[in-house]
Amino acid sequence: MLHHLRVYFAALRLEVVHRIQYRADFIVGLFVNVGWTGLSLLFISALFGNIKSLAGWSYNEMILVLGLYRFADGIINFLFYRSLKQFSKDIRRGNFDMLMTKPVNLQFFLSIRFPALTDFSQGLVGLGLVFYSLNRLQVTISPLQFLSFLAIFVCGIIFHYAFFFMITTLNFWLVKVDNFRQLVHSVVALTRFPTEAFGPKISSFLTFVLPLAVIVSFPTKVLLGRSEVWHLPFAASIAILSLFLSHRLLNRALRLYSSAGG
């Protein structure tokens, strides 16, 4: 465990040095992150031009969902995005052999070796929006509510990561596909709106078939005091199951990879 933490902090140090070297690019990246959030805010403002509520969600509640999405997405991108992008490239270009010889858990190493500081700033912008909207909503959150929120939010992060990882692992079978990360990013970006906004059928699909609702909608409902009893156990089950499946899928892929190498 300590060894893995040391590996992670070494990767983080390299990223900080790199970002300091390319400051202009880092600043443009910050501007871009703020810009995309601004665009989403503009869109929500246009939706609420003449209405007070959309599928039972008010304007400030939609801002809360957006903020929590940007925060969650920022965490995932900071921790895993560049690493999984590189993982995909390494599979497609056959550079995988070296990675398998590293003295560290393979899934861990593949997932964290390139942290992305610019995306951490995106998370901070999202967090800012969360606090802003909670203030506007004048919501008081009890300690129990906060703990529930934290638990479901972490489950959402785990599922998001596992989903991203599993889709990237598909590159072992679909070697020529170079746009899986755009696919994951675009699909998960649906969670910047509460699932109810897409209508009842799509909302059910996004809760029980592809449970993206666990990532943002569920934790938001906890903060708003609208959570249901089954949300937490459901989110925990999804997190554990998806993490387990991601590990199994990687092992299966490695068996395929090794046998191809002879």
Binding site: Y22, D25, V28, G29, F31, V32, G35, W36, L39, L42, F43, A46, L47, G49, N50, I51, S53, L54, A55, T118, L174, K176, V177, D178, N179, F180, Q182, L183, S186, V187, A189, L190, F193, E196, A197, F198, G199, I202
Partner: protein, 265 residues
């Protein structure tokens, strides 16, 4: 001319061999416009009859139109060009007896054809299931103008993406600049929201930028909102920006090649 037909043929074969990626791109072209369409449906079903003067039918048609234009007129060549320059794979291209600009255009057109074969059935299926909401207003004349405007929009997109890819001559990684362009295009083109729903200052800025010729202008023709003078003026505007973009590409390419060769030697 014959060599470019050969290049196109080879590019088509290449694109067909990468059809799995094309499936993903086709899906992505539709995902967000359709998701937005369903959100607007929820807004109108909440009791709104019009939003900014746009009724439900026009809004549904608008976003299906965005999906169609995503597939028909988009260009993502900047990423291939970035990769070629960054890795040095541009060098063999420079030795070949044909222009890199045109060979990349051939590759882009090939991708469009392969993606089109996937997108067309998707478009028909979605149009069928959403038919009660849709309202197209096309005559033969406006349909021809629409085809012309989409060709211009595609070429403008391609030249812009080529220029963005060329930034790799100077920037180690132009990803953030490319993403910034995507952001501006989303806002000022009408892809994210009909321009009429944007704050007035943003509408004023959008009127002077080329982005509106990617989505807003073709969509106005598709939904029958553009009259003849507006169509001719719009086509002239597209041509103007195409000429400017082409001139900028020539300038950037010449400067970039000098930087690339100097670095290599």
């Amino acid at each position: 001319m014959k060599k470019y037909l050969t290049v196109l043929s080879l590019s088509l074969q290449d694109a067909f061999s990468e059809r799995s990626s094309a499936v993903v791109w086709a899906f992505l072209d539709f995902l967000w416009p359709l998701a937005t369409l369903f959100i607007w449906l929820a807004v109108y079903q909440g009791g709104q009859t019009t939003v900014g003067g746009i009724n439900l039918s026009q809004m549904m048609t608008y976003y299906l139109g965005v999906a169609f234009i995503n597939a028909a007129a988009s260009s993502h060549s900047e990423w291939d060009i970035f990769q070629n320059i960054h890795s040095g794979e541009l060098s063999p291209h420079l030795l070949r007896p044909f222009s890199y600009f045109l060979s990349q255009l051939a590759a882009s057109i090939s991708w469009k054809i392969v993606k089109g074969l996937l997108v067309l059935p998707l478009l028909i299926v979605f149009s069928y299931f959403l038919r009660q909401y849709l309202s197209f207003n096309l005559t033969l004349e406006t349909a021809l103008f629409l085809v012309l405007t989409l060709i211009f929009a595609y070429l403008l997109n391609y030249v812009t993406s080529f220029i963005l890819g060329c930034l790799t001559f100077w920037l180690e990684d132009p990803t953030n600049v490319i993403t910034l362009n995507d952001l501006f295009r989303s806002l000022f083109s009408g892809a994210m929201l009909p321009l009429i729903l944007l704050p007035f200052p943003i509408q004023k800025v959008a009127a002077f930028l080329p982005y509106r010729y990617f989505y807003d202008f073709p969509l106005r023709i598709l939904t029958g909102q553009a009259n003849r003078p507006e169509i001719f003026l719009g086509l002239a505007g597209q041509l103007f920006w195409l000429i400017c973009a082409f001139a900028l590409y020539r300038f950037v390419w010449q400067k970039g090649l000098r930087a690339y060769c100097a670095f290599g030697s």
